[in-house]
């Protein structure tokens, strides 16, 4: 994650803007595609508006990637645009193949974007793009039906002048359906026309389609702007005007079904002047634009309006509608780093205050400083949570993506599976959410492909024909839990164990509990061959899922009942950006342990430690807590088994272990920084952190330690 952020820094601002906008467009395209796919699934008519939006997205991508010299991407977007153009123009019909091509294109473009950030082989994507373009061409070359010309529609040509090709097509299409083509004219205050216009357009859309929106202020009073909306409905003009709350003459029929109403002759209805005719006489001369505002303001004053109010309206209307700001996540990282460094300074201040307070000569000063420190501490914490808050995004982003995948799978594989989602509003650090997409996708695909049985199998087992996958997220303390469960065939622990033995992934002759056997699905190297997946329902790349989640400081668990289904539970920290750490020491060496995984600390007498099969255990309120010694974990020296130790009880999810250390040195806010050099790949070390004057210490990777302890492995 940090590595990826580092790679991005070499690029220009414009380039970053491009990538971020392109990502946004792709996200939108995915939404639009799933809307189309859903429509196709339900057998409803293709929504032209969705196709048009997709077309516009492809069009924008083409232009953007062209500007940045990305020929492959631009070319692919161009072909995509071509196909979409045919669809929106009614020259081709949407089919499964087209949908699949769209999906592949979006994925490939996303990959190409990823490649720009150094995550893919460029040559490969280029080849893939060329291959995909060939297939799009093959689809496009299916014969297309003829389309009629616009001539002979009997419509006033001045109305048609500003129509794009697409709008013209929609006009033709609506005429074909026998709808009435009408023009709605309405005036709006120029300072606030958007709301009014949106209202009218919305009301028209309830009964038909808005074909085009043409502004024409020359015909409206000074402070107003007139819009002519060309629309198609089945209603009579008078009925439409009634619905819109407009006077009858504001709506006139210009074509389509029924006898066109005679165009009411109105003063304002004078034919538009040709752009180059230059016939405007001095009488019709509108004020030069810069004078308009002054007059407007003057008129406002005449009407006894408070000028301040007018100015306020003005300011408000010039403001953009959205009040959100897009921020590069690296800027937030910088902020977080600053907060972290402030926290370190605060720590030093606290130590100084304590020293002053301990000396009788400076005690008063020390106490004052401590008070000051407390205030500073509170504000710092507020600042920290405010910055953290900004980084939080709802899991919905990822869940929606997964829902789309399931919908596509359902379509492609003809398998009845329902997806239930809850807790999509649960928030996590943006970087974690991003990194979650792949492992979650893996788990959901596994559930779909392998866990949920075929229709016949389900019927034979007396289950509902439709399978169920449930994604659930909720916050628990400082963690977020994400569970993916299915009602499929479940995993037989003995089958997994047998397979693991056969492949040498598990050792012979070691008695394993049901849990341990089940846990073997996460073992690296367990076969992905179908026999296993058929009988166990799992085992495909789950080791990758576990390591991905571990990188995020989380842990993944499996629970399953044969014939009833499986639940994969991921427990993740809410953020990686800043952590409170417990500082512990072993001899001269000090380590930081993220406090969110510390459940409690205990002082342990040597006599309390039990031994069983070479492992050390502690009886903690009736439960056997596996113990590890930090001194042995990283080969720091020999363990002194006669001395008292502190046990730090670590927990992630439901897993617990005790880590024996010499001393507890206190809590501290820390920012984890990635480590360069040889220490980086040591299992059990997550990074390093700065402790102010006391220098840097290593941060323990709790999820790795807990996992190792659970597996009962000996420390390397």
């Amino acid at each position: 994650m940090t590595a990826r952020r580092r790679r991005r820094t070499g690029q220009t601002k414009a380039h970053r803007e491009f990538v971020s906008e392109a990502e946004e467009i792709l996200e939108r395209m995915r939404d639009e595609l799933s809307e189309l796919a859903e429509g196709a699934q339900e057998g409803s008519e293709t929504d032209p508006d969705v196709v048009n939006r997709l077309f516009r997205s492809a069009h924008s991508l083409k232009g953007l990637s062209g500007m940045f010299g990305l020929e492959g991407m631009s070319e692919l977007a161009h072909h995509l645009e071509d196909v979409l153009d045919r669809l929106r123009m009614g020259r081709a019909a949407l089919d499964k193949q087209a949908l699949a091509l769209f999906d592949e294109s979006v994925t490939l473009i996303a990959d190409t974007l990823g490649g720009l950030e150094g995550e893919g082989a460029r040559g490969e994507t280029e080849e893939a793009i060329a291959a995909l373009i060939e297939r799009i061409d093959a689809w496009t070359h299916t014969p297309e039906p003829e389309t009629g010309e616009m001539d002979g529609l009997g419509l006033d040509p001045t109305l048609l002048r500003a129509l794009t090709e697409y709008e013209e097509h929609r006009l033709r299409e609506n005429l074909r359906r026998g709808r009435r083509i009408q023009v709605v004219e309405a005036n709006f205050e120029i300072l606030a026309f958007e709301e009014g216009l949106a209202e009218v357009s919305g009301a028209i859309r309830e009964v038909g389609e808005v074909l085009s929106t043409l502004p024409s202020p020359g015909e409206a009073p000074e402070s107003q702007i007139r819009f002519s909306l060309l629309c198609a409905t089945e209603l009579e003009p008078a009925a439409l005007a009634g619905r819109l709350g407009l006077e009858a003459e504001a709506v006139r029929q210009v074509g389509g079904a029924g006898p066109p109403a005679a165009a009411p002759v109105r003063e304002a209805q004078a034919p538009r002047t040709e752009p180059d005719a230059g016939v405007a006489g001095p009488a019709a001369e509108p004020a030069p634009p810069h004078e308009t505002l002054a007059r407007e303001l003057a008129e406002g004053a005449e009407a006894e309006l408070d000028p301040a109010e007018v100015a306020a309206v003005e300011r408000a209307s010039l403001k953009s509608i959205s009040d959100t700001v897009r921020v590069d996540i690296r800027k937030l990282d910088e902020l977080m780093n600053l907060v972290g460094e402030l926290a370190i300074q605060r720590g030093a201040l606290k130590a100084l205050a304590a020293r002053l307070a301990a000396d009788a000569r400076t005690a008063r000063l020390g106490v004052d400083l401590e008070k000051l420190h407390k205030g500073l501490d509170r504000k710092l914490q507020e600042l920290q949570s405010a910055v953290l808050e900004v980084r939080m995004v709802p899991l919905r982003q990822v869940f929606d993506k997964l829902a789309r995948v399931v919908r596509r799978l359902r379509l492609d594989m003809d398998k009845e599976v329902r997806l239930e989602i809850s807790g999509a509003d649960t928030e996590l650090d943006k970087l974690i959410v991003e990194e979650l997409a792949d492992p979650l996708m893996h788990v959901v695909r596994n559930a779909f492909d392998h866990a949920i049985e075929s229709g016949e199998e389900r019927a034979a087992a007396g289950k509902a024909a439709e399978g169920l996958i449930r994604m659930e997220a909720y916050q628990r303390g400082n963690d977020v839990v994400i569970a993916v469960s299915d009602d499929g065939r479940g995993i037989d622990p003995d089958a997994v164990h047998a397979r693991a033995l056969a492949q040498g992934v598990a050792a012979e002759g070691i008695e394993m509990s049901r849990r341990e056997k089940l846990d073997l699905v996460f073992a690296p190297g367990l076969s992905t061959r179908t026999e296993v997946t058929e009988t166990s329902g799992r085992g495909v790349g789950m080791d990758v899922v576990r390591s991905n989640i571990a990188t995020l400081g989380g842990i993944v668990d499996v629970e399953s009942a044969v014939g009833r289904g499986t639940t994969i539970t991921m427990t993740l920290p809410i953020t990686l950006a800043i952590i409170q750490a417990l500082i512990v020491s072993v001899g001269e060496d000090r380590f930081a342990i993220p406090l969110n995984s510390v459940r409690e600390t205990l002082l342990v007498e040597p006599a309390e430690i039990q031994r069983s099969e070479g492992r050390e255990l502690l009886n903690l309120r009736g439960e056997a807590l596996p113990l590890r010694r930090l001194v042995e974990e990283f080969q720091l020296g020999r363990a002194d088994r006669e001395a008292k130790h502190y046990a730090v009880v670590l927990g992630i999810g439901d897993a617990r272990m005790g880590l024996l250390v010499d001393e507890l040195e206190g809590q501290q806010d820390t920012v984890i920084k990635p480590i360069q050099g040889p220490v980086r790949h040591v299992r059990g070390i997550a990074g390093a952190t700065e402790l102010g004057e006391q220098g840097a210490v290593l941060v323990l990777d709790v999820s790795a330690l807990v996992e190792d302890a659970m597996r009962g492995k000996e420390a390397a």
């Binding site: 803007e17 906008e21 924008s60 129509l163 090709e165």
Partner: protein, 133 residues
Amino acid sequence: MQSILVVEDSATMRSLITQALEDLGRPAKIDEAENGFEALRLLPRVPYALIVTDINMPDINGLELVSFVKQNDAYRRIPLIIVSTEGSERDRDRGLELGADAYLIKPFEPDQLRQVALELLDRAPAPGAEDST
């Protein structure tokens, strides 16, 4: 100082156009509008010497904006450049028919845009000048 209005819904494209126009070699104030509506609000407030617009935009499209500008006596002398991704030839022709003064295809070279812009800026009416044609 002359003012230029850039109408473009893509933020990246908008800043590329603005960057190109900032290097004209003469001072110009550049206003950015994210869509046609914003452009409609800005037009009566600022005497623009040049408008640069995209065609494919939500709400009101570039052609509708061109039609509005070129059929309105207050604005029709403002030179207008369409900058659009290669697409429908018909839409391009329609834009020129409606009175656009130039048409650039994306991807464009910044120099190309600057050259056309300079040419048209010299033809632009001085702010506040009476329309005497």
